[in-house]
C-alpha cells in the first residue's frame, strides 16, 4: 500500500466487514432472544431476576468475581464440566438473555457457578452457608484460596438479643465470644444473586437428559 488514501480505504473496508461479521451478525443471531414460556404455567425460562438479585449482580461485577469464576457449562463433548457435576446440561445462548453484561469468565481459579443454587441448595441453611463462605471461605471449604469478603459484613458486639440475621459458623473461633457477624445489604443481594444461578431448567434446544 503506497498511498495514504488507499491505506485508509483498505483499513476502513476491512474493519467495516469485521464489524458486520463479528458484531452485527452475532447480535442478530443471539442478541435478541426471548425466554421460552411454559405451556401450562406461562412461566418464562430462563426466569427473570428479582430486584435484590439484580443488585447482587452489580456487587458480583464490582468485586470482580468473574476474575476467578466462570458461568458456563461446556457440552459433555467439550470438557468434563458435566461429569464434574457443575450442571445437568451444557449452557446455551438462551440461558444468558438476562445477563447484561455476561459473566462467562475466562479462568477457573474457583469452580464454575452456573448452577451453584441447585448444587448448594436454596433453603435457609444454604443462605447461611453462602454467607459463612463469603465471610471466611476456609471455614466452609478448608484449603480454599478464595478471597474473603469480610467488608461485606459487620462484626459487632451482641447487645441484648443476638440478631436474627447473625451468621452461624461451624468453627466457633471465627467470631470472638460476645460478637456476631451480620450481613450488609450488599451481602444479602450477592447471596440472592448466587441463589438465582440455576440453569437446570429445560429448554427446547437444551434438554436435561
Amino acid at each position: 500500500m503506497n498511498k495514504m488514501p488507499l491505506l485508509f480505504l483498505g483499513l476502513l473496508f476491512t474493519f467495516a466487514l469485521s464489524w458486520a461479521g463479528m458484531v452485527a451478525i452475532p447480535y442478530y443471531q443471539v442478541g435478541r432472544m426471548r425466554p421460552v414460556l411454559d405451556d401450562t404455567t406461562a412461566l418464562p425460562s430462563p426466569p427473570a431476576l428479582s430486584g435484590l438479585a439484580l443488585r447482587g449482580r452489580a456487587v458480583y461485577a464490582a468485586n470482580g468475581c468473574a476474575n476467578c469464576h466462570t458461568q458456563q457449562v461446556r457440552q459433555a463433548s467439550a470438557g468434563a464440566d458435566i461429569a464434574r457435576g457443575w450442571g445437568v446440561r451444557g449452557t446455551v445462548s438462551r440461558d444468558y438473555i438476562e445477563e447484561t453484561p455476561s459473566f462467562l469468565g475466562t479462568v477457573r481459579s474457583g469452580p464454575d457457578l452456573s448452577n451453584i443454587a441447585p448444587r448448594w441448595g436454596k433453603d435457609a441453611a444454604a443462605v447461611n452457608k453462602h454467607h459463612a463462605h463469603l465471610y471466611s471461605p476456609v471455614s466452609v471449604t478448608p484449603g480454599s484460596t478464595m478471597a474473603p469478603f469480610p467488608f461485606l459484613y459487620s462484626l459487632r458486639k451482641v447487645q441484648g438479643q443476638p440478631s436474627s440475621e447473625a451468621i452461624a459458623f461451624s468453627d466457633s473461633k471465627i467470631v470472638p465470644a460476645g460478637y456476631e457477624v451480620v450481613p450488609s445489604h450488599d451481602a444479602k443481594a450477592l447471596v440472592a444473586y448466587l441463589l438465582s444461578l440455576d440453569r437446570s431448567y429445560e429448554l427446547p434446544e437444551a434438554p436435561t437428559e
Binding site: 491505506l7 469485521s18 443471539v30 447484561t100 480454599s144
Partner: protein, 495 residues
C-alpha cells in the same frame, strides 16, 4: 558510506533523504510530548507491577491484605490488567507511534498542545479509572472495567491525538509509506473504532448475554491484535534496521504480513469461547483466523530474521536491540501457543486454566512489553539529548525483566497444564486441584517480584536520563564494556 545508504532506504523510501540535522530538528520538536508519554507509561508500568504483585500473592495466600474492600483480588487484578493495557502499553504505543510518524513522514510537531492535552487526559483517565475500579465501580466487563467517566477521558484524549495525526498526515507529501508508518496508521485507526464499538455495545447499552460474550471476546482479541500488536511491529520494523544498519530485507514481504494481520486479526475472538454458549461458527471462525494469522507472523519473523542476519553481534551490546529481538521472538511463540490452545481437543483440557493467562502474558508482557521497552531505550536518549546514565542499571533491568517474564510464562503454563489435566478427571476433587497448583502460583509470584524489581530499575534509569544525571557521555550506553569500535559506532551513526 554503507550506513548512509541503508539509512536512505529504510528511513525515506521515496522522499528526499533526511540529514542528521533534520532528524535532530524533528526529534526536538516532538521531544516534550513523546517523553511525556514515555514517562507516564513507565509510571503506570510501576503501578501495574505493584498491583499485579498483590493480585498474584493473593492467588495462593488469600488472607494477604484481605480486610480492605479496595484490595480484594477481583478489583486489584482488574486494576492491574487495566493499568497494564491502558496505562503502560497504550501510553508507550502512543509515544512510539507519534515519534515514528514524525520521523518517517517528516512531521515537525509545530503545536504540541493537542498532544499535551491528550497526555493529561490519558493520565487523568487512568488515575480515575484505577481509583474507581478499586472503589468498587468496575463495569465487570473484562478489559473495559474502567468506569464510564474514565473511559470517556481516555476517548477524548485519544480524539486529540487523532486530530493532530489527521492534520499532520494531510500536510505530508510522501508518495510511498514506509512499512512502520503503515503499522502506526493502522493501529491509530483501529483503537478508537474498537474502543467506541465496545464501550457502546458492552457498557453503555449492553447487548444480551451471548452476543455480549462474542463482542467482548472480539474486543479482547483485537485490543491486542489490532492496537498493541501493530504498534509493536511498527517499532520492530523501524528500530531493528536502524540499529543493525541494514534495510528491511523485503518490503513486499513486509506489506504482505501487514495486510494479512489486518485482514485476519479482526475476525478473531471466537477462539476464546471454544465450547462456550455461543454459535459454533463464531468459535470456528476464531480458530481459523488464528491459523491464517500465522502467515502474517511467519512473514514478519522471516523478514526480521533476515534483516538481523549478520548483525547478531549487536545483541551483545545494544540494550534496545536485545529487548526488541526477545520481544519479536515471543510474538512467534505466543501466536503458535494461541493457535494450539484454540484447538478444540486442547481447549477441552486447557480452556479456563492458567495456560490461557500464560499465552496472554507471552503476547502482552513479553512481545508487546519488551518491544516497547527496547523502543524506549532507543528513542529516549535521542529526545532527551542524554545517554542512559548507567549501564549497570540497564543490565539489572534487562536480566530481572527477562528472567521474570520467562519465569512467569513458564510457571503459569506448567500450572495451567497441570490444572487442565486434573480438572479433566472428574474424580479429583476441585479443592485438591486448587492445592496442587499452588506451587506454580508461588513461582509466578516470585517471577512477578523479579519483574517489579526490573521495572523499578527501568524507572530509575529513565528518571536519571530525563534529569540529565551524571557526566555527559559521548557515545551510547552499551552493555558490553569491551565492545569493538565498529559495533559501538553502528548505533551512533543512526542517531
Amino acid at each position: 558510506m554503507k550506513d548512509a545508504d541503508c539509512q536512505a532506504q529504510v528511513n525515506c523510501e521515496c522522499a528526499a533523504q533526511t540529514s542528521a540535522a533534520d532528524r535532530a530538528r524533528l526529534d526536538a520538536a516532538c521531544a516534550v510530548p513523546v517523553l511525556g508519554f514515555f514517562g507516564s507509561a513507565i509510571f503506570w508500568l510501576l503501578a501495574a507491577s505493584l498491583l499485579s504483585l498483590i493480585a498474584s500473592i493473593k492467588l495462593h495466600y488469600p488472607s494477604f491484605l484481605a480486610d480492605a474492600s479496595w484490595l480484594t483480588y477481583g478489583r486489584v487484578n482488574a486494576a492491574a490488567t487495566s493499568a497494564h493495557i491502558y496505562g503502560w502499553a497504550s501510553c508507550a504505543a502512543i509515544g512510539i507511534g507519534i515519534w515514528i510518524l514524525a520521523r518517517l513522514c517528516k512531521i515537525e510537531v509545530q503545536c504540541p498542545l493537542p498532544l499535551l492535552g491528550a497526555l493529561k487526559l490519558w493520565n487523568l483517565g487512568n488515575l480515575a479509572g484505577i481509583i474507581g475500579l478499586l472503589a468498587g465501580q468496575s463495569t465487570g466487563v473484562q478489559y473495559l472495567e474502567y468506569p464510564s467517566y474514565a473511559a470517556l477521558m481516555l476517548f477524548i484524549g485519544y480524539g486529540l491525538i487523532v486530530l493532530w495525526g489527521a492534520v499532520s498526515c494531510a500536510r505530508h507529501k510522501l508518495c510511498k509509506l514506509p512499512i512502520s508508518a503503515c503499522y502506526v496508521v493502522a493501529a491509530f485507526f483501529a483503537f478508537p473504532w474498537l474502543f467506541a464499538v465496545a464501550q457502546v455495545m458492552l457498557v453503555f447499552q449492553p447487548v444480551q448475554g451471548a452476543a455480549h460474550a462474542v463482542i467482548q471476546a472480539w474486543f479482547a482479541q483485537n485490543l491486542v491484535g489490532l492496537w498493541l500488536t501493530p504498534s509493536a511491529l511498527a517499532a520492530c520494523f523501524y528500530i531493528i534496521p536502524k540499529i543493525t544498519g541494514r534495510p528491511i530485507y523485503s518490503r513486499s514481504l513486509a506489506l504482505l504480513g501487514f495486510w494479512f494481520l489486518i485482514l485476519f486479526s479482526c475476525w478473531g475472538g471466537g477462539q476464546r469461547l471454544v465450547g462456550g454458549p455461543v454459535p459454533v461458527w463464531v468459535q470456528t471462525v476464531g480458530i481459523v483466523s488464528g491459523f491464517m494469522l500465522l502467515m502474517s507472523v511467519a512473514s514478519v519473523a522471516l523478514n526480521l530474521h533476515l534483516t538481523l542476519t549478520g548483525s547478531f553481534s549487536h545483541l551483545r551490546v545494544s540494550p534496545a536491540l536485545r529487548f526488541v529481538v526477545i520481544g519479536a521472538i515471543a510474538y512467534t511463540l505466543a501466536s503458535l501457543l494461541g493457535c494450539l490452545l484454540s484447538l478444540r481437543s486442547v481447549a477441552s483440557y486447557l480452556q479456563f486454566t492458567y495456560a490461557i493467562a500464560a499465552q496472554w502474558h507471552l503476547m502482552v508482557s513479553v512481545f508487546v512489553g519488551l518491544v516497547f521497552t527496547g523502543s524506549i531505550y532507543y528513542i529516549a536518549p535521542r529526545l532527551a539529548r542524554w545517554e542512559w546514565p548507567s549501564a549497570g542499571l540497564v543490565r539489572w533491568h534487562f536480566w530481572c525483566t527477562t528472567l521474570g517474564v520467562i519465569g512467569l510464562v513458564l510457571s503459569l503454563l506448567a500450572g495451567g497444564i497441570h490444572q487442565g489435566i486434573s480438572l479433566a478427571s472428574p474424580d479429583m476433587a476441585f479443592m485438591k486441584v486448587v492445592q496442587s497448583i499452588s506451587p506454580y502460583l508461588e513461582l509466578a509470584s516470585l517471577s512477578v517480584i523479579m519483574l517489579t524489581v526490573g521495572n523499578f530499575a527501568f524507572a530509575f534509569s529513565f528518571f536519571l536520563l530525563v534529569v540529565h544525571a551524571g557526566k555527559r557521555r559521548t557515545e551510547p550506553t552499551l552493555l558490553d564494556d569491551d565492545m569493538t569500535e565498529e559495533s559501538a559506532g553502528a548505533e551512533t551513526n543512526h542517531e
